[in-house]
Amino acid sequence: MPIDWFTVVAQALNFLVLVWLMKRFLYQPVLDAIAAREKGIREERADADAVKVQAGKDREEFQRKNEAFDRDRAELWTKATDEAKAERQKLVDAARMDADALATKRREALAAQSETLNRELGRLAQKEVFAVARKALADLANADLEEQMVLIFATRLRTMEGPAKQAFAFALRSAAQPALVQSSFDLAQAGRDKICLALNETFSAAIPVRFETSPSLVSGVEISSDGQKMTWNISEYLGDLEKDVQDLLQVKTA
């Protein structure tokens, strides 16, 4: 089998050309593609590792924030609960104080109303008593109320005795001013004479007397001299009536 050396040389050259062409068109592009893909995979893995590390950090940060949030929430809850309790206590105290004040005001209003009622009752009673007494006296004895008052006052002067009479007599004698007789109505001259007569007879002396009308006296007659005073008026009866009414009101409001 002869060897064709021209063909040998040509085939060697052909093979070398084929080596160059294969490196140029096959091996290098394929290896480059593989290297690029491996590089991409390495970068992706590096990125994934970085993302994983970052995710771990984020998770730790989230847990830390979560714990801090829970802690703050618990503190705020405790604080809010305490504040609510304090506020509730404050409101309850204020409400209690308001209730007490209202009750006090109510009691005061009730007392004031009671007092007003008493006064009105006294006024009405006085008016009615006078009216009744006046009518009764007029019907039964044909007597005037003022006249009866003067008679009763004179009778009280005459029946005065003991230390009270002595003290009054001393005051009348030592007084520089005339004795003052006040009445809630204008005394008629007959009434004035009866009082003067009763004074003169009781104290056995001519007692100088000065007469005045005082509306503040409640339906009565009063004599005063040098600090000594003797009175008859209807307020004594009214005082008893008032006392009875107050007792009655206290029983009703209790």
Partner: protein, 231 residues
């Protein structure tokens, strides 16, 4: 009957000629180059890639892995030479199924040319890796007495490479041709299939032996493997 495609001459002028060996070699070069160019035109560098790209990557990485298993660490450096050896021989064998195709490797001229390329490549890579002194010193190992034996070994293994490949490829073609004249139906088909297998084995043997020779030239202490595959 032609024993070699060298005898099928298309054109001749003096000693220069264009025979079937050269013509089919050029055809193979054209097909391999154009096919590579077309297949690597749209390579993807992402995870999504075509089946052709997967095939190319399997092929290239498979050759690279075989080179590394022989002991050549920097496989990228030897991929061009050894990979092309494998692809050229394997493609020549595969194309024998085409009617009228004469494998260039069935020519002793071609196998001698390839063996000479290996013969040159071994000292080239050895000197490149170890330097001229280091490489020449390997002929004196394990002792200076071994120098003539090493030289004879160098020449004989080159001759063995050439003749082994030529014998196998030529015999396959010859057997098919003879069987065609005797039993034209069944046996030629079987022998063609067997020839394809033999051709792939020969491509593997040729390229792996070249890799072993280069590896032995690079690693001085590495003995030439006795278990190298042989037909």
């Amino acid at each position: 009957m032609r024993l070699s495609p060298d005898q099928w001459i298309f054109w001749q002028h003096g000693f220069a000629k264009i025979n079937a060996t050269l013509a089919f070699t050029w055809g193979l070069i054209f097909v391999l180059s154009l096919g590579s160019k077309l297949l690597t035109r749209k390579l993807s560098s992402t995870a999504e890639r075509s089946s052709w790209q997967n095939l190319l990557e399997i092929l290239v990485l498979g050759i690279q892995k075989q080179i590394e298993e022989v002991g050549l660490e920097n496989s990228h450096k030897y991929l061009g030479f050894l990979g092309t050896l494998f692809l050229f021989v394997a493609t020549s064998s595969l194309c024998t199924i085409l009617p009228g195709f004469e494998p260039p490797t069935a020519s002793l001229s071609t196998t001698v040319a390839l063996a000479l390329c290996v013969f040159v490549a071994v000292p080239f890579f050895g000197i490149e890796d170890r330097g001229l002194g280091g490489y020449l010193k390997s002929y004196l190992e394990p002792s200076a007495i071994m120098l003539p034996f090493n030289l004879i070994s160098e020449l004989s293994r080159t001759l063995a490479l050439a003749v082994r490949l030529f014998g196998n490829m030529m015999s396959g073609g010859m057997i098919v041709a003879i069987l065609l004249t005797i039993t034209p139906f069944f046996f030629p088909l079987v022998m063609t299939a067997l020839g394809l297998l033999t051709g792939m084995v020969q491509a593997y043997i040729f390229s792996i032996l070249a890799a072993v020779y280069i590896a032995s030239a690079i690693h001085a202490q590495t003995p030439e493997p006795n278990s190298a595959p042989a037909p």
